[in-house]
Symmetry: D2
Amino acid sequence: MANGPALTLDQIGSHNAERIDALAEDYAALDRQLARRGVDIAQVKSAVATFSVAVPSWGAGRGGTRFAKFPIPGEPTNIHEKLEDCGLIQQLGQVTPRVSPHFPWDKVSDYAALREEAANLGLGFDAVNSNTFQDQPGQAHSYRSGSLSSTDADVRAQAIDHNIECIEIGRQLGSRALTVWVGDGTNFPGQQHLGRSLDRYLDAAAQVYAALPGDWRMLLEHKLFEPAFYSTVISDWGSSMMAAQELGPKAMCLIDLGHHAPNVNIEQIVARLHKAGKLGGFHFNDSKYGDDDLDAGAINPHQLFLIFNELVEAALEPRTGFDPAYMIDQSHNVTDPIESMLCSAEAIVGSFAKALLVDREALRAAQESNDAIIAFRALRRAYDTDVAPIVALARAEAGGAIDPLALYRTLGWRERKAQERNTVGLGAGIV
Amino acid sequence: MANGPALTLDQIGSHNAERIDALAEDYAALDRQLARRGVDIAQVKSAVATFSVAVPSWGAGRGGTRFAKFPIPGEPTNIHEKLEDCGLIQQLGQVTPRVSPHFPWDKVSDYAALREEAANLGLGFDAVNSNTFQDQPGQAHSYRSGSLSSTDADVRAQAIDHNIECIEIGRQLGSRALTVWVGDGTNFPGQQHLGRSLDRYLDAAAQVYAALPGDWRMLLEHKLFEPAFYSTVISDWGSSMMAAQELGPKAMCLIDLGHHAPNVNIEQIVARLHKAGKLGGFHFNDSKYGDDDLDAGAINPHQLFLIFNELVEAALEPRTGFDPAYMIDQSHNVTDPIESMLCSAEAIVGSFAKALLVDREALRAAQESNDAIIAFRALRRAYDTDVAPIVALARAEAGGAIDPLALYRTLGWRERKAQERNTVGLGAGIV
Amino acid sequence: MANGPALTLDQIGSHNAERIDALAEDYAALDRQLARRGVDIAQVKSAVATFSVAVPSWGAGRGGTRFAKFPIPGEPTNIHEKLEDCGLIQQLGQVTPRVSPHFPWDKVSDYAALREEAANLGLGFDAVNSNTFQDQPGQAHSYRSGSLSSTDADVRAQAIDHNIECIEIGRQLGSRALTVWVGDGTNFPGQQHLGRSLDRYLDAAAQVYAALPGDWRMLLEHKLFEPAFYSTVISDWGSSMMAAQELGPKAMCLIDLGHHAPNVNIEQIVARLHKAGKLGGFHFNDSKYGDDDLDAGAINPHQLFLIFNELVEAALEPRTGFDPAYMIDQSHNVTDPIESMLCSAEAIVGSFAKALLVDREALRAAQESNDAIIAFRALRRAYDTDVAPIVALARAEAGGAIDPLALYRTLGWRERKAQERNTVGLGAGIV
Amino acid sequence: MANGPALTLDQIGSHNAERIDALAEDYAALDRQLARRGVDIAQVKSAVATFSVAVPSWGAGRGGTRFAKFPIPGEPTNIHEKLEDCGLIQQLGQVTPRVSPHFPWDKVSDYAALREEAANLGLGFDAVNSNTFQDQPGQAHSYRSGSLSSTDADVRAQAIDHNIECIEIGRQLGSRALTVWVGDGTNFPGQQHLGRSLDRYLDAAAQVYAALPGDWRMLLEHKLFEPAFYSTVISDWGSSMMAAQELGPKAMCLIDLGHHAPNVNIEQIVARLHKAGKLGGFHFNDSKYGDDDLDAGAINPHQLFLIFNELVEAALEPRTGFDPAYMIDQSHNVTDPIESMLCSAEAIVGSFAKALLVDREALRAAQESNDAIIAFRALRRAYDTDVAPIVALARAEAGGAIDPLALYRTLGWRERKAQERNTVGLGAGIV
């Protein structure tokens, strides 16, 4: 179990050696173009090098829908194997140094050992995620009618205890945040009293909040629908903000990109929550229809850029503090999860890089003079820029691979792991 | 101009005389059924008799789209004629005793006279509406780039002054609320800074707020899109609540049923704003796609019922005060506005009547025991009930017509008015 | 296993005896009202008595989401137990005399015996459903990359064979239709060639079509998204119609109410497919967000009515034949499936009854003269009518219970079945 | 009226001289990168040079919403001035050599002279657009209740005659297509018979079709909603395809990017219509909510790329002919229309250029082997490429400006035109 890094420095080194000249040429050309545009490429690369995003432990396995899951040979079957895969992702991509665990899925007997195991793989732990949306074998009370908002005090107590246990585990793992997403809601008009459901949620959440260490945050994740299909207790950013305000300063709102109504302007929600001092973090993914949990940027890369544009703006104007947590949250139903997380992380950091290229002075001037087309083009010029050389060079300089996917494909990783790991059975659902 | 009621008591009396027996028979049958269900029909009818909803002065004319408007002969061309039509609606339907005016559209030189003119028609004035979404001839500054949120201080000052003028007019008219809807927003990413736009809006709105009389309310109306198509400053209930909280206790949120993203659960927004003490009122209408401004209940009558179900719940549990303002806000593009407003008002009061029929004790018990199907059916049994006899009898007892539409059709109103009134020209748009 | 009816005639008789007087009173009152409106209630009741809708075998068990499923004690675990529950539903409600089976879920060794077993319970079999959206243990080829549209000829052959096997089973069961829904599609732009995917689907579907008996129909079910989240091969009614036209006259389109983009006018799709001679049938359910599979009419009963209004219109004007198949397709995640199916069937037949009440002569006249408000009110007057007495009396006259849900609740059915049946384990997904 | 080109060659030449070195440097760098990727940049540039898209005459003026229109000084007030502006756009951008006129808006007495006037400005005429969605002063019959689908035979005849007149004008202008978009539909359930409305539309459209010259196409433009808000006669691509099939081979479907339900996969519709041999053309624009008519690519540039990816695929596999008409159709509410059309045309041709960069062999191989991530990245690598150097050099080589917007801004065009042209008054609506 005392695994170290999956790749040798030699493997990465020889991969990069074959590609560094072409990369350098592209980078130099971009440098010249950006210099003409008044942008210092080295500064952008430095900023990119500081960026990181957490990966979800559950994202290391194949995901599924309610209809089916199609496992792949060699996918991880426990937290140890998931860490192993996440360690490889971090070695290759150098932008995902933390793993966000989910309990009870990732339960072990010795969390200090798990922390050390992760550290040996170059990984730390990000926000811990509680799970009160499904029942576990032997559980005293069922979440069939809700958890933190249940009408049953015993159910609520169980959900509170579970969240507090997650905090305790998180302390041992070195985490500093608890992400709370509940599936609580209804499938029929009238099924629950909409006001009292929120009251109960808030009462219960306050008990979890009270158990937070001083330097922790409680990240509230809203979602419009699924698994509840008529109403959801924390359905939108307004409800989330109400809850975070009532709970206290350590409670912040987490934005999952797939949890909104159709057509909603998510980047404006970023700005709103920032103004309210409640912008806690993100679950990155992409979607076309609902909570599709597709790879970040796969469907609407422009939206991802616009979100990072708001984040760069927020960092420039940190009204009420600005320190959002970045996590990936995707369901890899048709790809190798390692490949999807490598590509998603690259799309995310690339969007950040593009946002850094915006000529903010020109943008501000155009906004002040209501010159819509010039303001728009200040963003568009940055978005249209191919930042791949910046991202790849920053990665290589950090010790990662210039082309992570290509290197991964040479490793025979899944074939080897298929020998070592248990087989995942047929079934449906996310895990 | 000193018009009195359009109809004589005789006209209504003879109309009702022909229908009262059938109505009484239906009412008696419903009485027996409701008695079996433990509901006192007389109490319901009494509650229904207290209900009222305001009509919009602008709704008295034909509305249009950006493509076209198709005027009808005899439609009103000024506030006096609009009041005349609204007076007839109130005489026939007895549920719309107040008119909500819009300025500068309804400007006159003598508001005391206008108030008296309305009173002679049996009408009072509801919330005054300001207009900073279009330019008026001779206006000093254009709203082309926004109003309360404009980057231009002169534009903001003009918008503030106009709102304060509306308050002053409203005082003279006996109104007690100012409804503020701005079209401010953008059509391009980057066009404006999303955070600073809201800052400017709030600064300007605070100056309007400061001018509010002590017993007035300022109703903030949010809208997802149109006329702005990328971002809107007050786009959703979350933004509206933020603004209302920052402005102060007299600032409340107004819900227009057509101003939301697709699929959103509007009745839950009602519950959320009630919890926050910010449920200020409604603009009733219906929609299938966007802000279609169709007749209330025409597309989704069940949603209208569920909203009234929340309102009845809220009245039972008035956490933070409960006194929402009810207004119709529709665009009558293909009907005679008088007919649409008669039918819409009936749909609205009928939804209220249905909500009163819900067996709240059974509902509460089912909710507490998580008996979803019984809870749902408590609502559904009420919704399925044909409340027409209750609504019609309450109306008749208040002096209105048993079948307002049928009586209206006998009057030759439009034909007569087409002789008296100016012709509305071709064009496009809402007015 | 040779079960007969679950209820004795006495049980139903004594239940009805307690309720018949009240029902008769309500029915008589409605009779008088309808007579005034020129409607013969007896004719409506007769038409209602001829209406039936199939129930899905899979709907007899608790459904779930990708996050979780919460089983209930006593739910059925195989087709025999499902038939038992469906038999009870039919005894109580008398509107669901057929069961739609799903293979391989409902596979047995002796279909003749199964057919007899069903007949003993008062049941026949409706359309057979094939399943190529999930893998079965021991299956030669995986559907992970599609089925009828797969790039792999072996996979397509396996899917074709399975469908043909379903037809064969259906013949033995007395079915006359095959419903084909495939989850085929993609999660990434570029994942498949959009045109060639449809070509392959059509080639494969043609081979299934060729195996159809002469009096069978092949019902093609489209769906916008889920399980595929970027593109779906048969995503909308246009694609479905293209496919049905290419396959031949026995291929028809099936409309599931939850399989459309937001805001879409489903009743117009009914009219369009009827015009094209391709209106094959319905999967009834309701939804607010996506394919929520909620109980029919629970969210938008008005839409259900408008669909039946089109069906009544279509029956009056059977351009190209009119014989749609009616089925329920719901996921009962929070209710007892028996209760949900009883209530859903009632909502469906009630919508049909309301559509029968429309004054079609007045409607047609108003349409011809472009009198929108009168045309609308012709529908609305029918919709507002409480048809419960008609539906309940028709049911009682057919041998069912006046209040099926109330009678069911007295039976202790689940408690008894929990003793007899195996326990369903925790998990996620639809089955 | 005998205007020639607005710019001298010197003006463009000196503008380009200042920029050509930087452009050449960027182009050379991209050339080297693409060569490494196996792409011949010169071939791409040649293909780009052949691309063109028509501009709408109405797009040359400021657009508006139903709430307001905010005119700008110097905007064109008639077809002559519109042509003048479109000529300038073409001179600067060299990608919009044709203008699509709209009647009766663009009516003149001498179409031969108009054609010559356009030719002098370097312009030809694209599809003619009929207008039966608004009434004109003095018109015999109103379109208030529809046009081609009206219940009134006189109205239909008038609409047919108008369309035939448009064809006749188009012949004189050298056009080869008639675009038919009707606003026909309803705002209330029941307002019209959904089936018969389409029947009437088809009967009337067939009479227009019969008047088409042999080498013309009739482009049917569907739209989900607006100006009708409950149902629209030609609401979606399925209805459009039905109509085009019934009318005949010269009838084709036109896709406006903003006329679809939320979330719909438009690029798949492109593939479907191509398969059906009915892909007639496009109205390019962008939208976030409804038919927002924003600048092409401003909101979702990735979608625009995916559409062009389908078009490149279709051109490679021209099953049933492939010759779509490309037009811009936007409403420039907040920008100078000349600037918006310059930028939109650039976004459109840039999307085409990106689609040409896709490694189709790698894509096809990945599709065949169900390697989703590699297939996706084949598209993404092309999309991420900054094609500005290719587009700009192609433009410069064709005689256009390297930076059209920058050059336009030096011209003082609007200030000059404000002296020459009449002032547009306040109002609302699209024109």
